[in-house]
């Protein structure tokens, strides 16, 4: 019953996943034709919207924000004080939402979820992944965050405080992960390359590839 997609049509799961109910591909095609014929949507605008989130806006934006905060303490301060404004400094603007940046420390781990739907910081992370929108994550993140974190990124020590942020408003969260050891002297570009989407949602730490950390 999860939202997890499967690409092998024809098996028992196909109906409740990729091609369920009444053939969404056909329904979408019919709806697009109708709306275009009525003059309510312009197919070129649809192409532009899709291209925006396939090629322009995604977690690379957020990774640049994190890397800048790691190398520039003044920027980090501005980012924590007013996330939206500091993010706009790098040229990423969104849909009018405020963005609040949550700092992970050795004592605090932050985890972002939207239990009611799929609220997510589009300007810095793009569109949310399937797992973030899925019933397993939305149901478990608030009641058993340590269980979810253990499965995805390793056990959280008892001494560390876990803060779960349920995105119930037009106010989105971006986790500022801890900068991993072994990255001293790295350039902003090198740092941005190791910052992952999942680390900015808060489910895993940022690690140095190959270090086993």
């Amino acid at each position: 019953m999860s939202d997890h997609p499967h690409h092998h049509a024809g098996d028992d799961h196909a109906r409740e996943h990729d091609r369920p109910l009444s053939g969404p591909a056909l329904r979408v095609k019919a709806l697009e034709s109708l709306l275009v014929e009525k003059g309510l949507v312009d197919p070129k605008a649809l192409d532009e919207l899709i291209d925006t989130y396939e090629t322009k806006v995604g977690p690379r934006n957020g990774a640049r924000v994190v890397a800048r905060a790691w190398v520039d303490p003044a920027y980090k301060q501005r980012l924590l004080a007013d996330g939206g404004a500091a993010i706009a400094e790098l040229g990423f603007v969104g849909r009018g939402e405020d963005i609040v940046v949550l700092e992970n420390t050795p004592k605090v781990r932050n985890l972002v979820v939207c239990t009611l739907c799929s609220c997510y910081p589009w300007p810095v992370l793009g569109l949310p992944p399937v797992w973030y929108k899925s019933a397993p994550y939305r149901s478990r993140a608030v009641i058993n965050p340590r269980g979810v974190l253990k499965e995805l990124g390793g056990e959280i020590p008892d001494a560390v405080e876990v803060r779960v942020w349920d995105s119930t408003a037009e106010l989105r969260y971006l986790v500022l992960p801890e900068r991993p050891a072994g990255t001293e002297g790295w350039s902003e570009e090198q740092l941005a390359a190791i910052v992952t989407r999942d680390a900015m949602i808060g489910v895993v730490p940022v690690t140095v590839p190959g270090s086993g950390r």
Partner: protein
């Protein structure tokens, strides 16, 4: 509404499975359903709260069985018909009876600007906050049949105002009638043990964004 979309704290949904190198869309129709939903909003016949509520009204068994963009498609069809952009007959037949004049239709050149301003929830209205940072509150035990952003798991629970974010649109009325009912939005901290009982970690907490109308002083 006490729907299945309000999933916080439910059991039995299975493990969280992260797909490696996940694409933005898993098929062409998902991309089109996404874009149609965003583009149709340019006619401003509904707001983001009405849009969320349209998906929540999917029958529970269908909601759980559907993929994400199937829910969007369901919601979009509902919004188009309920707000008079498309008639039920047109949706059924696929044949347009009436053409729009093109006013308000999103064009490719306007996409970037539209995305920038699409959601305006922060308001300039001068409204006094009902609560102060550090104040103890109790989330109201309410069960409206319509839209609400107060999750079931927090209702009736004690929390502390962690931050006052200023004046925002109140989604619970905005979704039902368009009434913005400007009021303060807060981050409210609930101790994990207050929400989930003695088995929860004593250090942990859940922060929920709630509005004045969701809260009473404790």
């Amino acid at each position: 509404m006490n729907g299945v979309h309000d999933m916080g704290g439910m059991h039995g949904m299975g493990p969280v499975e992260i797909e490696q190198d996940e694409p933005a869309f898993h098929s062409g129709w998902e991309a089109r359903a996404f874009a149609l939903t965003v583009a149709s909003a340019s006619h401003r016949r509904w707001n983001i709260d009405m849009s969320r509520h349209s998906r929540e009204r999917m029958p529970p068994a269908d909601y759980l069985a559907a993929t994400y963009y199937e829910r969007w498609l369901f919601g979009l069809e509902k919004l188009l018909v309920e707000n008079g952009l498309v008639s039920a007959k047109e949706l059924e037949s696929g044949c347009p009876e009436r053409r729009a004049d093109g006013t308000g239709t999103l064009r490719a050149a306007g996409v970037a600007e539209f995305l920038r301003v699409r959601i305006r929830a922060r308001l300039e209205d001068d409204v006094r906050p009902k609560f102060r940072v550090g104040g103890r509150v109790i989330a109201r035990n309410i069960h409206p049949a319509g839209h609400t952003r107060l999750p079931r798991y927090a209702r009736g629970r004690h929390g502390v105002i962690e931050r006052d974010h200023g004046v925002f649109v109140f989604p619970d009325t905005s979704a039902m009638s368009g009434d913005k009912k400007p009021q303060h939005l807060y981050s409210v901290r609930f101790a994990a043990r207050e929400l989930w009982g003695a088995d929860a970690s004593p250090r942990d907490s859940v922060y929920v964004n709630l509005w004045d109308d969701h809260l009473d002083p404790a």
